[in-house]
Subunit: 295 residues, 2 copies
């Protein structure tokens, strides 16, 4: 009997050279070009549905929880006090990041600024568990340019800014530059936090970017730290985030009991983040430490 799987489509995202992750594609569910990028949704054999933006893996159903929990909860659990939080998410039109943010009861309002309405549309249609919070009353969606939005934001108007961007090429490049980070610093409160995805420290191609972003943030914020999470379908599997704060140190100001109390109402929904992972995520392998003098 012939193996029908032999006849499947395959899709490979090349990480370095022509080495990268190959997915068996059961079906191509969606493929459209927006003003910004090609948006595609594939049904894969091992990771459920997969969203590609210009051929790069944005998320899969099976492992999106890692990235979305890890961009949101470390900073949200670090914010002190009990006042309602104002959060800005730049990018992240799939809705996964705001889903995690809105789990926190103390979050009073979230602005989601996604440049590409087609990403929102594709996520609502094909990733209902990811887009599940896009209709939350506390959320305002802006289909707009993130850089301009932050430039126009009132000073001190956000407790937290999460930069959930694509790779730093094309229209997303501005989200990794000094002018943007400076505007973020201005838009944040005195105890505010900025988190940005920072590619893979295992990929030499991104060492310069990570070191440069770290250096720029260092000039604008008192505390800048890299932290890590495993995302199997992202290049090299090891992903990094930069967290920057004018006041809070992500470890010494992390109150485990306060964080555990914040997480308790939705602890069952979490699959990656916990208070031990919070501390562990900031421990860098020696090769990553050597990217900058962070000890």
């Amino acid at each position: 009997m012939a193996d029908e799987k032999q006849h499947q489509f395959r899709y490979t995202e090349y990480w370095q050279g022509r080495t990268g992750l190959t997915f068996a594609v059961e079906d191509i569910l969606f493929s459209e070009r927006s003003d910004y990028q090609q948006v595609q949704v594939l049904e894969t054999d091992a990771f459920g549905r997969l969203m590609l933006l210009d051929g790069l893996v944005m998320l899969t159903e099976h492992d999106e929880f890692v990235y979305h929990e890890m961009i949101a909860h470390p900073a949200l659990c670090l914010l002190d006090g009990d006042a309602p939080r104002r959060v800005l998410v730049v990018g992240g039109g799939d809705g996964g990041t705001v889903r995690e943010v809105l789990r926190h009861e103390h979050v009073g309002h979230v602005d989601l600024v996604e440049i590409d309405g087609l990403v929102l549309e594709a996520s609502r249609r094909f990733f209902p568990t990811v887009a599940s919070a896009l209709d939350d009353d506390r959320l305002t969606i802006h289909v707009a340019d993130g850089v301009a939005f932050v430039n126009n934001a009132e000073a001190g108007s956000y407790d937290l800014i999460l930069v959930d961007s694509t790779d730093p090429v094309g229209f997303a490049e501005g989200l990794f530059g000094e002018a943007f980070y400076r505007a973020c610093a201005r838009a944040l409160t005195a105890r505010g936090l900025l988190v940005t995805q920072a590619e893979s420290p295992f990929d030499p191609a991104f060492h310069g970017l990570i070191a440069e972003a770290h250096g720029v943030l260092d000039r604008l914020f008192a505390e800048v730290h890299l932290y890590l999470a495993y995302v199997p379908t992202y290049p090299m599997g090891l992903w990094s985030f930069l967290i920057a704060s004018k006041a809070l140190h992500p470890l010494s100001d992390f109150d485990t009991a306060h964080a555990a109390a914040q997480l308790a109402p939705f602890a069952e929904a979490l699959r990656y983040y916990n208070t031990d992972i919070h501390r562990a995520a900031f421990a860098l392998p020696t090769f990553a430490r050597r990217l900058f003098a962070q000890d």
Copy 2:
């Protein structure tokens, strides 16, 4: 101009279904069948040389340091006292694990028991930086079956046993069973440690194996803990190890100053492990915690 790279060979190790990591293959350097398995060495475009055993990635030049440092140093840094150590490495014929073990000055003797002489030969020939310690005076190489070797070992004769095995199929299956773990417990000193690679907790196919090995070890040892490391070229990128001890807790008995002093003579050679990583490696993502009641 034609892109010459279009004409490269590719090799994919399928992780789940037909999803997995694809390597561009510049050259096939070695391909021979031993009594046990097919041993192949490929030159890849992004990870340097790659050793395949029966088509599964054993190591690449560019990321082998992660696995080899993380199977060896957590346990070696945990062993207390200053007496010369006796270490047994089961499997690991490439030499990477003994290279890391032999960096420690207090290691007095190492027995390396590799069933397949062809792995030793291929590593010496194609991975000189991995096989670099195979001629160390403190090392005895036994081309023999690991299960039989441990069964015949004198009781209480090793301070540390490292099980650096291939996947639990075929001839390596015995290295994951209760009889083998029981023989290891017998061969260890009263404060001895056992470490075994335990596949990826991100792959549902291995959840049963990890939980079962954990359960068996729990009946034989006072302390059993899972810890994690990122290995980009291993399935799912996230790899686990089980550490078992009759006496030592891998965190509460971990003396940072003692460990740092042990590592100091070769700190420059390490690219992954450090004392912060030691502690962080034991923090499990929530999904991994749920594999067993480890809290």
